[in-house]
């Protein structure tokens, strides 16, 4: 993805100069290694801060809902599928958004990398295929493929499915990817072990809702966990409440989630909540042949009733 930064600046500058859009949403370099900050530019001069690298894991489609302006957004494959879902769900109009498509070779996993080196990481730099990590005492070189976020290593839609302009040529899609190997492993466990597995997985949760808020699909004016009359879910740290928040949120994203990984990336305590969302993605795939956000012309599988919807489980 070398060279994307310059192209993004060029495109953004042009779009603003020609008043094609009122605002461009992209990333600027963060103050921490492996972090970038979503930002916006409204003047051609301001586009100089825009950049792109393998730390742009937050889903910018999250910043589009309910916007009144004409907005350009830098979107990788997964983000573009969320934009499709937004359009289908009437959260933004197609002609309101100018999609600057980024063919993406994946985002790196900052938690994984932190666990692979000793000492505080001071700087991370990258080339097309390598990641260099500097601590006070050492420099380590990784193959980018070794340190990708899990959702990126399993990605089968790296290229934007919808775009008004592309930052670069399409990249090769990965084939023969088994997206659900880890889900199947859990499915094979005994019920008691499954229960314990999720208990352990969710125990660090502090109900900060970073996962929910980073998710472009979670746009309800009042989330079910914020309701008080009636109160569906307790707001404290009771383990049953924490579990309910996570699995119910996964259910609400079923058939809509594109596995962009923003939820896991945002989580301050490193919870792998994609195990829940991907199980539902697997079910939608296997039972309805459905993949979220691939086309503007199809309503999501869980949105419509078809005569041939799977019904074998209903006795």
């Amino acid at each position: 993805m070398v060279g994307y930064t310059e192209k993004i600046k060029e495109i953004a500058g042009r779009l603003l100069k020609e008043c094609t859009v009122d605002m461009v949403v992209g990333f600027r370099k963060g103050t921490m290694p492996m972090m970038n900050e979503p930002c916006f530019a409204t003047t051609p001069e301001a586009v100089d801060t825009l950049m792109w690298d393998s730390n742009c894991g937050i889903n910018l489609a999250n910043y589009l809902t309910n916007r009144k302006e004409k907005v350009a957004v830098i979107a990788k494959g997964c983000d573009s599928r969320n934009i499709v879902t937004h359009i289908i769900e009437n959260k933004i109009k197609r002609d309101q958004v100018y999609i600057v498509g980024v063919p993406c070779t994946g985002m790196i996993d900052k938690r994984k990398i932190t666990g692979m080196v000793a000492g505080e990481i001071l700087e991370v730099s990258e080339t097309e295929n390598t990641i260099k990590v500097k601590t006070a005492d050492a420099e380590t070189l990784f193959e980018k493929t070794e340190v990708l976020q899990q959702n990126c290593s399993l990605c089968i839609h790296r290229n934007p499915v919808i775009h008004d302009e592309m930052v670069a040529d399409m990249v090769q899609e990965q084939t023969d990817v088994d997206r659900y190997a880890d889900i199947r492993k859990i499915e094979e466990m005994e019920p008691e072990d499954k229960w314990q597995f999720f208990d352990d997985l969710l125990s660090p949760c502090i109900r900060c809702y970073a996962c929910r808020n980073a998710c472009p699909l979670c746009y309800c004016p009042t989330c079910f966990v914020d309701e008080a009359k009636p109160q569906w879910v307790g707001k404290g740290q009771d383990p049953m409440d924490v579990r309910t928040f996570h699995f119910l949120r996964a259910y609400h994203c079923a058939g809509r989630c594109t596995d962009c990984g923003a939820c896991e990336r945002a989580c301050p305590v490193g919870i792998n909540m994609r195990l829940l969302t991907r199980k539902l993605e697997k079910d939608c795939q296997e039972q309805f042949g459905w993949e979220a956000g691939m086309s503007l012309d199809q309503r999501p599988a869980l949105d419509v009733y078809q005569a041939n919807d799977p019904g074998a489980f209903i006795k």
Binding site: D193, K194, Q237, D238, M240, F313, I314
Partner: protein, 52 residues
Amino acid sequence: MELMGVEPDRLHFSWISSAESTKFVNVVKEVTEKVKAIGPNNHFIKDTAKVA
């Protein structure tokens, strides 16, 4: 739900019209037997909140 640890025999789905009383009786019997065979449920239960 199964993924999270609910035993498969604890959750059942059935379409029964109010005119299908025999089917209703049979389904209720079957579900009751299956659930009794697994034993009491001790998951997905919240008493008063477990907190500090």
